[in-house]
């Protein structure tokens, strides 16, 4: 009896610890997120992301996801999470490389507040936090 209680108490503690860890996971300081993005994309190491750096990184990621190399992300290549909170009715659930490619510049420009062709400082923080911000706006 006592043994069971201890076990139950321990598993409750574990669940709590797990929740705590999940909370810590969600509450990463924005600086960390930005640093991770820079680590992935900042080829010349200047602490900014240029359009060229972004274009190259994004297309490589798209192509790596396109396992069957048909120029389209669909099915399991296109996780449902990507549309979470975006408020889009998307029956097809597929995206062609050309459509993706055409959207790179408009999306970059949306975050490049001062239009200098580089994401830096607060622009970069907003860009790095974009998905999380969208997921949190999910109804």
């Amino acid at each position: 009896m006592g043994y069971r209680r201890v076990v139950r108490g321990m598993s409750a503690a574990l669940v709590l610890a797990g929740l705590f860890a999940a909370g810590a996971y969600a509450a990463d300081p924005p600086g960390d997120t930005t640093a991770r993005l820079l680590q992935r994309m900042d080829r010349n190491g200047d602490g900014k992301i240029s359009f060229e750096e972004y274009r190259n990184a994004m297309l490589r990621r798209f192509d790596a996801r396109d396992k069957n190399q048909d120029g389209v992300l669909d099915g399991a290549e296109f996780p449902k999470e990507w549309l979470a909170g975006a408020g889009i009715e998307d029956a097809q659930h597929k995206i062609s490389r050309d459509d993706f490619s055409d959207q790179l510049a408009p999306t970059f420009d949306r975050f490049d507040a001062d239009k200098d062709g580089q994401l830096t400082g607060a622009e970069l923080d907003a860009f790095a936090a974009a998905r999380k911000a969208r997921e949190e706006s999910k109804p």
């Binding site: 274009r55 990184a57 490589r60 990621r61 790596a64």
Partner: protein, 193 residues
């Protein structure tokens, strides 16, 4: 006044014709080889659509002068030649969401690598995320030539330049069979895909 109008309309005409003459040229480094494509580059050249996963970096793996575009190391792209810049303004909400989704995946993948935990987005289906299989640091100190071994064959690209001296393919870095070479003060982490 008449002169001014004449000059202005001539300029306008010139502008309008330059605009309409924008031409799309596809230039592709297939098999990783250097390739050049003849053009009239006086009106400028812009990369409008990158077709390759392999990097297209201006001045490194692609460039142009008055009569040619060149591409190298697997860069394949479409270029707009001699036209004014026209950006496509058609917003595609799904595409925009996917762009942001992939940015998030990049951040989370990195976090996973850092912490070896929770892989809810990228590895659920065993999908590659576009990260290099490995990176190798190779440094030319005092402008000397130096070599760094490659563990396996793969596409090699500059991942992060560490030096203020530019790392430019064939000039200050290159790949020679199973090793990378660097010179002229190029210091960088190289990605092997």
């Amino acid at each position: 006044m008449k002169h001014l109008i004449g000059v202005l309309s001539a300029l306008l005409l010139l502008f309008a014709s330059a605009r309409s003459e924008a031409e799309t040229v596809r230039c592709e480094s297939t098999g990783g080889d250097y390739r050049s494509c003849s053009i009239d580059g006086r009106g400028g050249v812009r990369l409008t659509r990158q077709l390759s996963s392999q990097g297209c970096w201006q001045g490194d793996t692609w460039g142009y002068d008055v009569n040619r575009i060149w591409v190298d190391r697997g860069c394949r792209a479409e270029f707009s030649v001699g036209g004014s810049s026209s950006s496509s303004n058609k917003d595609n909400a799904v595409a925009a969401a996917v762009v942001i989704g992939l940015v998030g995946a990049a951040i989370i993948a990195n976090k996973d690598r850092d912490r070896r935990r929770d892989d809810r987005y990228d590895n659920r289906y065993g999908y590659g995320n576009g990260d290099p299989r490995t990176t190798i640091r190779c440094e030319s100190n005092g402008n000397r030539l130096s070599y760094c071994g490659l563990p396996y064959r793969g596409q090699v690209e500059v991942y992060r330049q560490l030096s203020s001296s530019a790392c430019v393919y064939a000039r200050s870095w290159g790949v020679d069979r199973n090793r990378i070479w660097v010179s002229n003060g190029c210091r960088a982490d190289f990605a092997v895909y």
